[in-house]
């Protein structure tokens, strides 16, 4: 008896340790990669980027898409457009600015035929006759909601980054996303130093969107459910 108690204790402690150990984090999966340019519209104060009330938008290409999205880059061009973001708070920390945007914003991916479709064209001083129109033609395959959008920018190096929560909420391929796997996040690096930035755009943008692992579910029975709520 005396010998079995310590054994039982050890077994219980081991079980406790196992149950208390954090579950291994599931990797987030890359959903799509995007490259383009951003601009402000409306731009209430052209001299200040991210001034309160300024709208923030971007257009560009989506060179890589991953499951559950289905893509055919040999036949279609994929483009993006984000909008619906308004600068609501602007803070300065040394040479950095921190801009928070109200929204929600929307990030939409479009699929358009390469042959017979309209090639994406940035033009100058957006919005203009070709941007965003040549980026939003075709089929909207994915509509994502952007919340908690925050832009950080170093005014000395003229570079920065943004990030936001992402939720798949629409588009023709929304059905590819399980109901418990529509949440994720997006981020991008931005630079004002590239000489490839078309006139009237603010920065070049290179970003990615990740999908979170599926939300965990627990198997149960009707009996168990009824017992919980009695």
């Amino acid at each position: 008896m005396n010998r079995s108690i310590p054994r039982l204790l050890v077994a219980l402690l081991a079980a406790g340790a196992l149950s208390a150990a954090p579950a291994p984090a599931q990797a987030q999966s890359l959903l799509f990669d995007y490259v383009g340019f951003d601009y402000e519209f409306p731009d209430l104060n052209g001299a200040v980027f991210g001034d309160i009330g300024d709208g923030y938008q971007g257009v560009g290409e989506v060179p890589a898409l991953f499951g559950p999205l289905v893509a055919n880059p040999a036949t279609y061009q994929y483009t993006y457009y984000f909008d619906g973001l308004t600068a609501s708070l602007r803070q300065t920390v040394g040479p950095f600015i921190i801009i928070d945007y109200s929204g929600p914003g929307t990030l939409t991916i479009y699929e358009d035929l390469i042959l017979g479709g309209t090639a994406a064209d940035y033009g100058t001083n957006p919005p203009n006759g070709v941007a965003p129109p040549t980026f939003v033609d075709g089929t909207a395959i994915l509509v994502g909601k952007l919340t908690n959008f925050r832009f950080l920018y170093n005014t000395t190096s003229n570079t920065g980054s943004f990030e936001a929560d992402f939720e798949a909420i629409g588009g023709t391929q929304l059905g590819n996303f399980p109901l418990n796997q529509r949440l994720g996040w997006t981020f991008a690096g931005t630079t004002g130093n590239s000489t490839t930035i078309p006139t009237g755009y603010d920065h070049q943008v290179d970003g990615q969107t990740f999908l979170n692992p599926p939300t965990a579910t627990r198997p149960g029975t009707w009996g168990g459910l009824k017992a919980r709520y009695r």
């Binding site: 984090a25 599931q26 990797a27 987030q28 890359l30 990669d33 490259v35 290409e61 060179p63 890589a64 803070q91 920390v93 040394g94 040479p95 950095f96 921190i98 940035y122 908690n148 925050r150 950080l152 170093n154 190096s157 570079t159 920065g160 980054s161 943004f162 990030e163 996040w185 981020f187 991008a188 690096g189 931005t190 630079t191 130093n193 590239s194 000489t195 490839t196 930035i197 078309p198 070049q204 290179d206 970003g207 990615q208 990740f210």
Partner: protein, 231 residues
């Protein structure tokens, strides 16, 4: 007569000012990983060396003839010799930014067969950087003004990095301006140290590209030719 000369001067200036092309990146990758012994997102040890390995996912002009989706090959890059100048911390404890600058650096871009590049954990290791530097050296160059920027308050632990590239060699040097007069290039993009998208032993996951910043070619001319053009 005076107005005519003003017009001529303006036309000549327009003709000789180098205007940048507005195209996509010459090289896009997905992803690249940074590693540096002893470094964290908020602190880099002065004089330590940072290295970067990446798998190229797309090419644009003037390298658009390369097919990064060819499953028989991999296109990779390796940056080494980035020597840390240490990290500067900016801002109050709740909103701190960390800027690390680097001196020097060399970039090499390879085409290899088979497709074997792999981001094994805890580099350097038998596969990193070796699987990123096998094959044909397409381009090599020097890196300057390289820096990383991070912070301690964004939920997805993001930041960015950037640096300038001067191409110096490789079998495709002729496509980026030639060895005698290579076009400048810009390494840029965003990065994150969020554990769920990172690999053990690497500092940052990077999503970025290289921009080809070659000015549009100009044609030399003379006043005589210009005058005859507008007579």
């Amino acid at each position: 007569m005076r107005a005519r000369w003003i017009l001529l001067t303006a036309a000549l200036l327009v003709g000789t000012v180098a205007t940048p092309a507005t195209s996509g990146p010459v090289i896009d990758w997905d992803p690249a990983y940074f590693y540096e012994p002893g470094a964290t997102f908020s602190n880099s040890v002065p004089l330590s060396e940072m290295k970067i390995v990446g798998i190229i996912s797309a090419f644009g002009p003037p390298l658009a003839f390369l097919d990064a989706t060819d499953l028989s090959k991999d296109y990779t890059f390796y940056i080494y010799g980035l020597i840390s100048n240490g990290t500067t911390t900016i801002g109050p404890p709740a909103t701190q930014f960390y800027v690390t600058t680097y001196t020097g650096g060399t970039i090499e871009i390879y085409e290899g067969t088979p497709r074997d590049a792999v981001f094994d954990p805890n580099p350097p290791n038998p596969n990193v950087p070796s699987t990123f530097v096998n094959g044909t050296l397409l381009l090599s160059g020097t890196v300057s003004n390289f820096f990383t920027q991070t912070n301690n308050f964004t939920p997805f632990m993001t930041g960015n990095s950037e640096g300038n590239i001067a191409w110096t060699g490789g079998s495709l040097i002729g496509h980026v301006g030639g060895a005698a007069n290579p076009c400048p290039a810009l390494f840029t993009g965003g990065m994150t140290w969020l554990p769920s998208v990172n690999i053990a032993g690497y500092l940052f996951r990077h999503d970025g590209k290289i921009d080809h910043e070659c000015p549009t070619p100009t044609q030399s001319s003379t006043w005589g030719r210009m005058k005859s053009l507008y007579r």
